[in-house]
Symmetry: C2
DNA sequence: TAACTTGGGGTTATCGGTAACATTATTTAA
DNA sequence: TTAAATAATGTTACCGATAACCCCAAGTTA
């Protein structure tokens, strides 16, 4: 690879002069500048970011760690983060923890080792605490996305999960539903907890008793084996007339399971969920959802992160918490009963 | 940040000894090794990959550049690449060119500057040639995904676009369709060209004359303005009874447009396309598609790339080309006519 | 005219690691 | 018993870039 020394030699100047030309610092005569530029072109010089970062002690790289790269919610978050990072002159790299605490740990190590200037993390859940503590200990600024982690104060961008759950349940009751089930993510995930809370509160406000059998707490990510969902569906009696899903993945899997057992949605069972299905929901606008502002999660989160990085020394800045509203999109997956 | 020198000082050894412990090289007494390990734990040492890469002249990083991170085809490619990279001990970083030649150029520069060991590129199209030449000139091994670029020989993983298009058209004709339109990506993209070719060949085999008005060549990526598609639909007379879409994004946009104008799919117009819609297609298995093996694109491509990297010096290895089969999934988006 | 700026550079040290080559005990083989 | 081998560690140079400091000539100023 061509280095500034090669350029310097060929242009008959010192490496420092080449560095000055590249970074537009110091005083350089036009003649020298042009000569150096010409040689750089000629030799196809490409700067070495690693060498640069090593001495500057900063990489101009932000890292976005998401939990499911095949989930349109997170890819849209990524688009937002990417745009914001670009706007502020940072490069953005992605990682995908696949909802696995172990892969998350690997990525945290990688992030530290590559000396990213900051990190956007959608944590896998409460068990991410040690990973976040590691980041904090190494003074790497980070912003949490979508999920909080008890025991760790930080900047965070959340959706209004509780309110969203309430809206979904209210919508269902307003359509006459009383037997409303909930399939949710792990209780180790803050947003899942809030969705359960919102669900319970809304039931209470509608004078519907809470029934633990109507709640399944499982994993947010795609699974190959649907038997857990099947046996849950069998267990509920009388069967629910409507199901609230804690995210889009669960909604899809519930609907698949229902279809496999011959139930029709929404004629026999209504289904609603958090998070839209991406552009493809428009092919046949079917699912009634709480459409979280995924792009804004990424965009605003990155903005907060950049602020935090650039004011690094200003200690004692209070942590910021952005809660994005939960907007419901009513489509066809809910039937009116009675 | 803690460095090996800090460790060395505290453990009372030289930096080199610490380096040996970290890399498990050379001979070290158990006593020293344990002492060093303990100090490393105590100080929360994290190696600096940049410093390491700088001296080793390799980064153990692969880069995957895709053109649309919100397209489930590419995110599934990413999952495959990720798994393969991890298996071979490489870290994988992603970039998203958004089908923009300019962003692609930026990413190529970033990739060179970060000294990735190899690159997987889904090129934006034929105009990517100079970018690929840049990579080649700098001797960065790369593998093309999904699209070839005329003028650049390299390893490549493709889908069988021509055969896929033929299958789609044959399926339509077997359902009685004769007026079959095609909405396709830019002719500057090799896979789009092959899909057009396959479409024309299949028409000919079925004794259907080719009509240029039935073909719209536009962009593969999502758009905000549907007017181009609208005016194309209006232009065709008599209107087609079926439309082949060059990818999933176009299929969705065509269907949206049709819906907006009051056409029903498939009752009035049948639609088929390349690439599945991700897990969400299963919510309501609707679109008949050529489901390309996206995961394999990523997995096999990464494998080829790693081979190429590790046999770097073995010159003259012929370029490899993998063509993955095009399997059709018949669902409900095609009606039988006459 | 001596003293001071200023423009346009060059030198040296450093970032955090590792390869290659010492170095010093301790064994082992002859 | 002594040279040769081996184990365990240290020294030095270098990867590619930049900050901090130094240098010198030409132009200004008092």
């Amino acid at each position: 690879m061509v280095t500034i020394y090669d350029i310097a030699a060929k242009a008959g100047v010192s490496a420092m002069t080449v560095s000055r030309v590249i970074n537009n610092t110091g005083k350089i005569s036009d003649k020298t500048r042009n000569k150096v530029r010409r040689v750089m072109e000629e030799l196809n010089y490409v700067p070495n970011h690693m060498a640069r970062s090593l001495v500057l002690q900063q990489s101009n790289v932000l890292f976005l760690l998401i939990t499911d790269i095949t989930n349109p919610f997170y890819t849209t978050v990524a688009r937002g983060a990417e745009d914001a990072a670009r706007k502020h002159g940072y490069r953005l790299l992605f990682g995908n923890s696949d909802e696995s605490v172990e892969k998350e740990k690997d990525y945290i190590d990688t992030i530290l080792a590559t000396r990213a200037d900051g990190v956007l993390v959608a944590p896998t859940g409460d068990l991410s605490l040690p990973h976040l503590e590691t980041l904090r200990r190494h003074r790497v600024p980070f912003v949490l996305l979508d999920r909080e982690v008890p025991g760790m104060d930080s900047d965070v961008v959340l959706g209004d999960s509780k309110e969203g759950a309430r809206k979904l349940v209210d919508h269902l009751t307003s359509c006459g539903h009383r037997r409303i089930a909930l399939i949710n993510g792990s209780p180790l995930i803050s947003s899942a907890r809030l969705r359960l809370e919102g669900y319970r509160e809304a039931l209470k406000l509608n004078d519907i008793p809470f029934d633990q059998n109507y709640v399944l707490e499982t994993a947010f990510e795609p699974r190959s084996d649907l038997s857990e969902i099947e046996s849950w569906l069998d267990r509920m009696s009388p069967p629910p007339t409507a199901i609230v899903a804690g995210n889009n993945v669960l909604a899809v899997e519930v609907i698949r399971t229902l279809h496999a057992r011959g139930f029709r949605v929404p004629e026999q069972v209504s289904v609603v969920c958090f998070d839209d299905l991406g552009p493809y929901s428009e092919i046949d606008p079917f699912l009634t959802v709480i459409a979280q502002q995924a792009y804004q999660f990424g965009y605003l989160g990155t903005q907060m992160l950049v602020d935090r990085i650039q004011e690094r020394d200003v200690t004692g800045l209070p942590w910021k918490k952005i809660v994005l509203p939960a907007d419901m999109i009513v489509r066809r997956s809910v039937s009116t009963i009675k």
